[in-house]
């Protein structure tokens, strides 16, 4: 058999990618990123029937103020301006921004709370659309974490470890479960920030890193401008046809190499280049919004067509979910109101409210919410007491607060229209049905059909898992 025949028999694109991919094709695919197969070295998953097939994590980077937005505590207004009791604070540590502050006056919420829907969830007037969706959502008001600074807290939330170097949740899931798409990465990350550009939290790549898992499982960051995927476009002056011709030649020469040298890696290489070519058309198709009807675009709000905005990213998250992407990590910065609570929180909420609600609604009307898990929340909450000077209302702020905060979840396997857990009367400490970050992670894994204690990866001699040696599934929130 000459190389030509060999290539046509073994390596035609149909043989490589068709339903009945066999032989070299499946061998090669097994080691590529976009494979439908989970990693050959991963334990057999799922452990049990999953409730959700994919996750969209709307990470509110910078930490939204739970006491202004969700966790209604009448006592705060009653005690406004009075010192928060030491019995509540109990020697806890804060960031250096208020760690040394002598006075810790209680700061009443700057918004209006009202009850929403059948479930009667309390949501701030700053988030009317999210409030209107309350019956689809499950609020957890007893979240708590260990870190008082952004980067370690976000790292902890997304990777289970406080310092850089552990695999992110999305990496774990694509490693263990594989992907449902061959044309797109299994784990996609998008970032945006508030229009005011008020904050400076950086999106570190270790928030979506693969840690000690093979690096093909790291999140692929879709960029906010230009090519969504780095190096996606052909060089200037090289048409798609020319690229095709070039890849045909490349495939033929590689097939000769495979015939003569026999390294299975060469087959992988051939598949890898073909997938790259396909991604060059599937990504532009993904980002082409011309077929989205006006009423859908309107739902996501005025920024929806601006690449890199939160609204655009929410719409993109739905499109990625439709196409089988396993984990979408959408990060939106601008919640870090140390000195601008009164001026910025409302703007920030306006940016986020409609798109977040629209995403849940849009998924629901397409039947996708059933098996898509949506999570909305920050890395911690904000202090129920004031950062700053109480007489200077324009510069009111709240500091980082890991001891209680609120998140909400919706969709795949989550009980809709409920509130789980409580913080104390100051919104200071998680008080009832406390949910630790590792519990949340265990719950997400559970919904994906995974026993978090049994999903491990051996590295440096230890069986590592997302939840370290902790974490309990939060059963009451399960549907």
């Amino acid at each position: 058999m000459n190389a030509f025949e060999f290539q046509h028999q073994q390596l035609s694109r149909r043989a490589l990618f068709g339903q009945g991919a066999v032989g070299i094709g499946s061998l090669a695919l097994g080691s590529l990123m976009a494979s439908q197969q989970p990693d050959p070295l991963a334990p057999a998953l799922p452990h049990f029937a999953p409730k959700a097939r994919r996750v969209i994590y709307l990470l509110q980077n910078g930490a939204p103020s739970h006491v202004d937005l969700f966790d209604y505590k009448p006592l705060l207004k009653q005690r406004h301006g009075m010192q928060i009791p030491e019995s509540v604070v109990g020697g806890k540590r804060f960031s250096t921004m208020t760690g040394g502050q002598a006075a810790r006056p209680v700061l009443g919420e700057i918004t209006q709370f009202s009850r929403h829907g059948q479930s009667g969830a309390t949501v701030s007037s700053f988030l009317p659309r999210i409030g209107a969706m309350a019956d689809e959502l499950c609020f957890i008001k007893s979240m708590h974490t260990t870190q008082v600074n952004h980067a370690p807290a976000i790292t902890f939330l997304m990777t289970g470890g406080e310092q850089a170097g552990r695999p992110a949740m999305g990496a774990w899931l694509s490693y263990g479960l594989g992907s449902e798409t061959e044309d797109l990465p299994a784990f996609v990350v998008m970032t945006s920030r508030d229009k005011e550009a008020s904050c400076g939290q950086i999106f570190y790549d270790f928030y979506w890193g693969s840690g000690f898992l093979p690096s093909k499982y790291q999140g692929v960051k879709f960029r906010g401008s230009g090519d969504p995927v780095l190096y996606l476009s052909n060089p200037d002056g090289m048409s798609r046809e020319l690229r095709r011709t070039m890849l045909d030649g490349l495939g033929e020469l590689n097939a000769i190499k495979l015939r003569d040298h026999g390294d299975p890696e060469t087959a992988t290489r051939i598949a890898q280049y073909e997938m790259a070519y396909r991604m060059q058309s599937s990504v532009p198709e993904l980002t082409d919004l011309s077929n989205e009807p006006k009423h859908i675009l309107d739902m996501y709000g005025p920024d929806v067509l601006r690449q890199g905005s939160y609204a655009y990213n929410c719409l993109m998250a739905r499109r990625l979910a439709e196409r089988g992407v396993r984990f979408v990590q959408l990060m939106h910065a601008g919640w870090d109101q140390h000195r601008n609570l009164n001026t910025q929180l409302k703007i920030q909420c306006t940016d986020v409210d409609a798109p977040s609600a629209a995403l849940v609604k849009d998924l629901k009307q397409r039947g996708l919410l059933e098996d898509t898990l949506v999570i909305w929340g920050g890395e911690f909450g904000r202090t129920p007491f004031l950062q700053g000077d109480i007489t200077n209302t324009k510069q009111w702020g709240r500091d980082h607060h890991p001891y209680a905060f609120t998140i909400w979840m919706a969709g795949g396997g989550i009980r809709a229209g409920m509130t789980h857990g409580e913080s104390d009367e100051f919104g200071f400490n998680a008080a009832k049905d406390k949910v630790h970050i590792h519990d949340l992670q265990a719950t997400i894994m559970h919904l994906m059909g995974i026993d978090h204690e049994r999903f491990t990866f051996r590295f440096q001699g230890r069986q590592f898992r997302l939840t370290d040696v902790h974490g309990e599934v939060v059963k009451p929130v399960l549907a």
């Binding site: 939290q201 995927v229 996606l232 200037d236 002056g237």
Partner: protein, 820 residues
């Protein structure tokens, strides 16, 4: 894939065993399945039973040597009762039948105990007979056991390319005619040798050009990097290389060079996030040094012992904090003001200082203009501050940023926010603010470019070190610890200094069982793709017991006894037939069926996908940095200049801006800086060079880089400007050679692969050229403008574009992206 899982147990499956060997056969089973609850960690030990200690394990009825059936251990592992069976079903661990059989056999044979192999002294094993070269002798012996034969030697041109890529990280000159033996010497003495071998060291040292974290300030550690390159080029013995980097400042009359070398321990990230507690950062830095030292020299996972005694290795929290104490004595305070946090060595030049002075003056001048402008914009009584004007009522942070801060003190963040606010409201004011922003950025950049190398020093009054509860900086326990080395390893020499110098000398003493093994293994890993110990980062009991343990020990002994001579070690490796054999995947089984029968080997092993048996030469996709260097070299663009500050080659637009919210702007270099080796590419820690895939992120110490294949990698080498430009310049080089299409095709192929094309390959190339010619004309003028290198106007654009595409294809061949 079956082969994969099978090979994980290779160490156990391989030897045809006469007697059970504790370290090789038993300890891995006990460690993996039992130590978690019955191991070294006293605080979490269950049932007061420990199986990591011979005396304890043989007390009572647990293990009765010679009496397998009466031993409780055997009883428990074969039990059907879920409440009784071990490991308990809850543990997610399970023994296989062959493991149970092994444990039984071991106890029946007397339950001989041993130390973990890597903690045993390095004793030079006897070289087996049967081959001239010691490496080959060890490898052939093992191959004979499984009935495999080595591959024949690689073709000469393949070997030349392999040697060149391995030793200097660059492809051979097409005109390279030296015989391999001469070539090896030439490469070992090339100045590019140090550049190539610095790469892995920089990964291990988590070297980068910024701090990481918020603000990600620039640092100037490049003199340290240049020191590494020159030390490697000078073949500085590895023991000295170690001592200088860990404790150069403590040597008598330490030289500037010796102090610069200590920058190794300042290369870690520094968290300067707003609100960050300085002491927390300082403690984190000290821990990073302990853990990096553990990984790089000892191959031990010290980080486990930060919070508790090790679950598997005989390492305690006390061991951790005893090492911590050695690194806890520098004057650094944890405040991340800049990338040049004290203690730092001032290596500034007059030019750098002049630039800084100028930038300062510029800020001053524009600030004065702003002062004048703001007097009008925010009217207030004469002589009164801005806080008494309308500026105090601006929204958000602006009262603090503008009203309370005089112009010359406004930094980048405040100015960005102010510009954002005023841009639609007052264009004249915005322009002034923008000018100030530019000046402030230049001032900062100039200040950060004044070369200062962060180094190690020692406080006049030493800190007291206490064990920290769960490693929390603010939770010291009452257990005071002072420096010593881990108890399980040989002690410090009598009279050794009780500080970093003592530590460094201990690491490289002949008695240390780990350093040489771990180091030799890393060199092996770079060359063969997988280390002799696959877990290059872990030589503890959970690490892999190397299938070629004797070879590793022999190399380690040879390395130490040669005076830690790195070039000698590499020469030894690359002169072996094992290294020089062909990398073709052909199973050469002399007695394959017998091998299978005799040793119970599964047939899958014969294909040995990771080449652990070394029946073929190494073949794997080169690291991304080497791909870029190769493309530059093949095209002739490579600028061979050594050393100096980092350079900024092509990068897609907006990467830094997006990652830093516009606070950092990537200012691409031009001219010859575009073509420097990748070693010199500026590394912003929070968003590293975009064209490097599968590399360490340089955030924490990494001694094992990952090798994966994703479509995204293909997109880099197909579309990145560097590669397209290299293809264009390469095609120009080919077209300038005399000859017709046929000759040019052969020459292009020959340059990139370092061999002649075969007849069928040439056939493909011919057809390609015709097809590309038909399609290349339309976009030719654009394609020829990719990259800044000049294009020869005498070449016909359509023709040049067709050849550019052809060369880009060649640069992407599997053979070309692989070291073969």
């Amino acid at each position: 894939m079956k082969g994969f899982t099978f090979l994980l147990t290779l160490a156990i499956a391989l030897p045809c065993r006469a007697a059970v060997d504790f370290s090789r056969d038993i300890q891995p089973i006990l460690s993996e399945n039992c130590y978690h609850c019955h191991g070294p960690d006293a605080n979490h030990r269950k049932a007061d039973l420990r199986l990591d200690d011979e005396k304890a394990a043989k007390t009572g009825k647990i293990i009765l040597p010679g009496k397998a059936n009466e031993s409780e251990l055997i009883h428990r592992i074969v039990s059907d009762d879920p409440d009784e069976v071990m490991p308990t079903p809850k543990s997610n661990r399970k023994l296989t039948d062959s493991q149970k059989k092994l444990l039984k056999q071991w106890i029946a044979e007397g339950a001989n105990w041993g130390k973990h192999w890597a903690f045993e002294p390095v004793i030079r094993p006897k070289v087996p007979t049967g081959a001239k070269h010691p490496i080959d002798a060890f490898v052939r012996q093992k191959l004979a056991e499984v009935g495999l034969e080595p591959n024949p030697p690689a073709r000469r041109e393949t070997l030349v390319r392999r040697l060149s890529l391995d030793l200097i990280g660059l492809p051979p000159d097409p005109a390279e005619k030296s015989e391999p033996t001469a070539l090896i010497e030439k490469l070992l003495s090339s100045v590019h040798f140090g550049e190539r071998w610095a790469w892995e060291w920089l990964d291990a040292a988590r070297y980068a050009d910024t701090n990481g974290y918020q603000g990600d300030p620039e640092r100037t550690m490049w003199p340290w990097r240049d020191w590494v390159v020159s030390a490697i080029n000078a073949n500085m013995p590895y023991d000295q290389f170690t001592v200088w980097q860990i404790a150069g400042d403590l040597l008598p009359n330490a030289t500037e060079e010796q102090k610069i070398a200590t920058g190794f321990n300042r290369n870690h990230m520094i968290n300067g996030e707003g609100g960050r507690i300085a002491e927390e950062t300082r403690v984190e830095n000290v821990m990073d040094r302990v853990e990096t030292t553990g990984t790089v020299w000892l191959g031990l996972t010290m980080q486990c012992t930060k919070c508790h005694d090790h679950k598997f290795d005989p390492l305690t929290m006390r061991d951790y904090y005893a090492l911590y104490d050695a690194f806890n004595q520098t004057s650094e305070d944890g405040v991340a003001r800049s990338g040049q946090a004290a203690p730092a060595m001032d290596l500034s030049t007059p030019d750098e200082l002049e630039r800084s002075k100028k930038a300062e003056a510029m800020v001053h001048a524009i600030a004065n203009e702003l002062d004048a402008f703001e007097l009008k914009k925010f009217p207030r009584p004469a002589g009164r501050p801005l806080t008494e004007s309308a500026a105090i009522d601006l929204p958000g942070n602006l009262p603090a940023y503008i009203a309370k801060t005089v112009p010359r003190n406004r930094g980048v963040d405040p100015l960005l926010e102010a510009i954002g606010y005023f841009k639609d409201k007052d264009s004249e004011y915005t322009k002034l603010l923008q000018r100030l922003l530019a000046a402030q950025r230049e001032k900062l950049a100039a200040k950060n470019a004044v070369t200062k190398v962060m180094i190690m020093d020692t406080l006049p009054k030493l800190r007291e070190t206490y064990q920290l509860e769960k490693g929390a900086y603010d939770k010291p326990t009452t257990t005071k610890v002072s420096f010593t080395t881990p108890a399980v390893l040989p002690p410090l020499a009598d009279g050794a200094p009780k500080n970093r110098l003592g530590l460094a000398q201990w690491l490289v003493s002949r008695q240390n069982p780990l350093t040489a093994r771990v180091t030799v293994n890393r060199f092996w890993q770079s060359i063969f793709g997988v280390g002799l110990v696959k877990t290059a980062e872990d030589f503890g009991v959970q690490g892999e017991v190397p299938p070629h343990r004797e070879l590793l020990d022999w190399l380690a002994a040879e390395f130490m006894e040669s005076g830690w001579d790195v070039k000698r070690l590499l020469r030894l490796i690359v002169t072996s037939e094992t290294y020089q054999q062909s990398s073709e995947h052909v199973v050469r089984a002399s007695a394959r069926s017998e091998g299978v029968k005799k040793n119970g080997l599964k047939p899958e092993l014969q294909t040995d996908p990771e080449n652990r048996l070394l029946a073929r030469g190494p073949r794997f996709r080169m690291p991304a940095w080497m791909l870029r260097d190769q493309a530059l070299a093949l095209s002739g663009l490579l600028n061979p200049k050594l050393g100096g500050p980092g350079v900024k080659p092509y990068q897609p637009e907006g990467i830094w801006e997006e990652a830093t919210f516009g606070k950092k702007t990537y200012q691409q270099d031009h001219g010859e800086a575009l073509y420097r080796r990748t070693l010199y590419v500026f590394w912003r820690r929070i968003v590293g060079p975009t064209l490097l895939f599968d590399n360490s992120t340089r955030q924490v110490c990494a001694v094992k880089t990952s090798r994966t294949n994703t479509p995204l990698h293909a997109l880099v080498t197909l579309n990145d400007t560097t590669f397209v430009e290299a293809a264009r310049v390469l095609s120009e080089k080919v077209l300038h050679l005399s000859g017709d299409d046929e000759t040019h095709l052969k020459q292009a192929f020959q340059i990139v692969t370092h061999r002649e094309p075969k007849a069928d390959e040439l056939g493909v190339l011919r057809r390609q050229l015709l097809a590309l010619r038909q399609q290349a004309a339309s976009g030719a003028s654009k394609l020829l403008k990719v990259g800044e290198a000049k294009t020869d106007p005498a070449l016909k654009p359509a023709e040049h574009a067709a050849w550019t595409s052809l060369c880009l294809m060649l640069l992407n061949l599997d053979e070309v992206v692989s070291k073969e």
